[in-house]
């Protein structure tokens, strides 16, 4: 058990942006929500997964919809509370603690805003170990945990309880309702027991995020190379160094798809990297080599500061280092690859672990 204050929130936000692999939306709003809630209600208690009783009811708190909408129509803070209360009412049981559904963008911060207000603890675990765009793309789904009963809530006071036949239907219905509710809602989905989370969740994600954030923050003061330090922290590999020379975005079926092209510098001179993304960075390849592919993580870092860059933030002329990080082993199973592998996103390549692609040993 430990306490999370404002500095920890700042660090976790940076770490979450990195593990968010370019997607999940700008964590800025979520961070401000968490900071305001902590300022008004005090620090948040974080529990190690082992501290959670097996029979406890635990529920992640997250948003659904367009991050751009949330940047404009910021939540009231009541939506998440209403969603939790409605779910407690429906299940007839008190919620013991909350946790982040994913390690990325705004969703990594929202549990803290809610926890500070309700005095709930946050569990150090999540359902992705990174960020993904769709509801069923969680390790809980791989283990057959249902997203429903689920509640979505808007700032106007509307709530909807969803009880669906599977997670794909949850996604469909929730998305349709989200549009009517104004494009961005808070939800309480994937309620489960402490035991479920111990079996299916990804542990110590907040610790990792905080360590990444702190490493980058202190790198300059300690006069060390931020990116090398980050690679050690996450057990990742440098894939490429270069300058963004082209960025091509288009929207298909509601997702920001696109390709960013990097021209190599230093040892990568005369090579060109293409980075394909759909909200998240999903595939990195040069003319000759595949370097990293989903579900392994691909993060783009500012070459100077080591700070992560989102897909929206990639711009012409940016000097970047692209890194690859092995994903959680749960994603490397047959069902994992089927759910979030390259084929699911429409890329005609087979999944090969990043460490094999770069011929390196996994160090972590």
């Amino acid at each position: 058990m430990r306490e999370i204050g404002k500095q920890e929130i700042e660090d976790i936000a940076v770490g979450a942006a990195l593990l968010g692999t370019g997607g999940g939306g700008d964590p800025y709003i979520g961070k401000l929500m968490a900071l305001q809630a902590i300022e008004e209600h005090g620090p948040v208690t974080v529990l190690d997964l082992d501290e959670v009783p097996d029979d406890a009811l635990v529920v992640p708190s997250s948003m659904m919809g367009a991050p751009t909408v949330m940047l404009e129509k910021i939540p009231s803070g009541e939506e998440a509370i209403e969603a939790f209360q409605k779910l407690e009412e429906y299940l007839g049981k008190k919620i013991y603690a909350t946790f982040p559904i994913e390690a990325g963008g705004v969703n990594s911060m929202l549990p803290f805003a809610l926890a500070a207000r309700l005095g709930l603890p946050v569990i150090d675990a999540d359902g992705m170990g990174r960020a993904f765009p769709e509801l069923q793309m969680v390790t809980f789904y791989l283990d057959g945990i249902s997203a429903t009963p689920a509640v979505i809530a808007d700032e106007k006071g509307n709530t909807a309880v969803l009880s669906t036949i599977d997670n794909v239907w949850t996604e469909r219905i929730a998305r349709a309702a989200t549009i009517q509710m104004g494009g961005s809602v808070m939800n309480a989905m994937y309620s489960m027991t402490g035991k479920n989370l111990k079996e299916s969740g990804i542990r110590n994600i907040l610790k990792l995020e905080e360590e990444i954030g702190r490493t980058i923050r202190l790198a300059k003061a300690n006069n060390v190379n931020a990116i090398q330090e980050v690679l050690k922290t996450v057990g990742g590999f440098e894939l490429f160094r270069g300058k963004v020379t082209d960025i091509n975005r288009k929207t298909e079926t509601g997702f920001a798809r696109g390709v960013a092209t990097f021209e190599g510098v230093g040892e990568y001179k005369n090579e060109t990297l293409q980075l394909r993304f759909q909200n998240e960075h999903l595939l990195a390849q040069t003319e000759k080599r595949l370097l990293c592919v989903t579900p392994d993580l691909i993060a783009v870092l500012d070459a100077e500061t080591g700070l992560p860059i989102t897909t929206e933030g990639i711009r012409y002329g940016s000097r970047c280092v692209v890194i690859g990080i092995p994903c959680h082993p749960k994603w490397r199973t047959e069902k994992g690859i089927e759910t979030v592998g390259p084929k699911y996103f429409g890329y005609d390549v087979d999944y090969i672990p990043v460490e094999e692609l770069v011929h390196k040993e996994v160090t972590k």
Binding site: I29, Q36, G65, A66, E72, S76, K156, G182, G254
Partner: protein, 526 residues
Amino acid sequence: MGTYRIGIDVGGTHTDAVLLDENNKVISETKSSTTEDVATGIYKAMNEIITSAKVSREDIHYAMLGTTHCTNAIVERKGLNKIAVVRIGAPATLAVKPLIGVPEELRETLGKYVYLVRGGHEFDGREIVSLDEEHLYKIAEEVKGKVDSIAVTSVFSPVSRDHEERARDIFKEVLGEAVAISLSSEIGSVGLLERENATILNASVVNVAKTAADGFINALKDEGIEANVFFGQNDGTLMSVEYAVRYPIFTVACGPTNSLRGASYLGDLSDAIVVDVGGTTSDVGVLINSFPRESSLEVEIGGARTNFRMPDLISIGLGGGTIVRIQENGDFTIGPDSVGYRLPEKAMIFGGDTLTTTDVAVALGKIELGDSSKVAHLDKELLNSVYLKIVELVEEAIDKMKTSADPIPVILVGGGSILLPTELKGASKVIRPEHSGVANAIGSAISQVSGQIEKIYLLDEIGREKALESAKSEAKAEAINAGADPNSLVIVDIEDVPLAYLPGNATRVRVKAAGELDRKVENAVG
């Protein structure tokens, strides 16, 4: 009888002024020190160019001012308006209150009267809830006599400005015309906090802008000049005095913009990289279609995050006064500190004791300035490696701004640009045009008039073509409103960005139109 225009650029160190004829030929120019009160420096510079030009005062029809008045006021928290902050959006948005995330002392100064009112819109233009007009009337009564400027920001006002306009009407009704009202929909784009911050900053410098405008107009009158007065804005176009006083925040980055635009004119190039070398720093920017490329990142002003369009610049700590330090073992450092405006007393070639980049260039015979014998004793080989490093710093900055490896023309401007060679890596050619020392004042004088709009369209409903057409005609109407000649209008920028995760193909469209000053305005004056 000719038609002349005055261009003035007030920077942190220098106040530059130029007088141009109707063909934009430079008749006279001056560079003088910026004074503490800013106004005195303007009077002095203006007087100098008019006196030395020997043109009839009646023939000066335009006066354009680019100024850092508002920027300084915000940074120094000086002379700011007493403001009220009104956000329309409750019950949404309460999780992040206004001014969270801005520096504490700015929050204290500007956050005395903060109100959250029920209202605002959804992304598709529906009301979240209806506007709480009663609350607005109550707020108006409460702030009466206590504030002289109000910032109003409503959720999704870039999609529908109804609630902001209604709020303005209510405040005007209760408080009269004396209280300035800033509406966020007229200032920024989607992104509530950034737009709200920009609107708050705008509301806080209304008086500063008014004082600057009055000062400038009075200075002109004292000189016996009856000219049409314009202010330069961030995007390199002009706005009328009335507009500048309502939207002073649009002037905060006009300095670098003016120098880029001036470089474009002087170098006769519409697409190039511009290196503006000052005394302390060099700014490197990019010209696209004669306008500065804008930054896609959030911009902080006085520590507050805003979402203005600002010129995309890299600033490096290298100028004519940058201090060069050489150690016993031959290692050296360049800057980042500088002797700045004290170059004429501090530099070795002027009899001072500090080795500057200018001294290095003189010692190597790159330029002729001051007394070169004072640096003749220095180790040439070592200075050569210092000089190579200086050039390398600039080349690196240029390369960072490029979008491809193709060589691109580079224009050098600014007082310190004499330091740099006429060949640079990555440049197809290097131009150092005449009058390059006052490129910023020239940029101010030759600016066009523009109009810009930014809106969200649902492309599934109206189609991309129609959306773009509608945006274009609105932008043109804005430009004509601002004083542009309808016949000279061109669309200078179109950007459409799809919004992720939303159906209906919701897309943010931004269009800018720009044109020459309307001759009718000129006739009316001349």
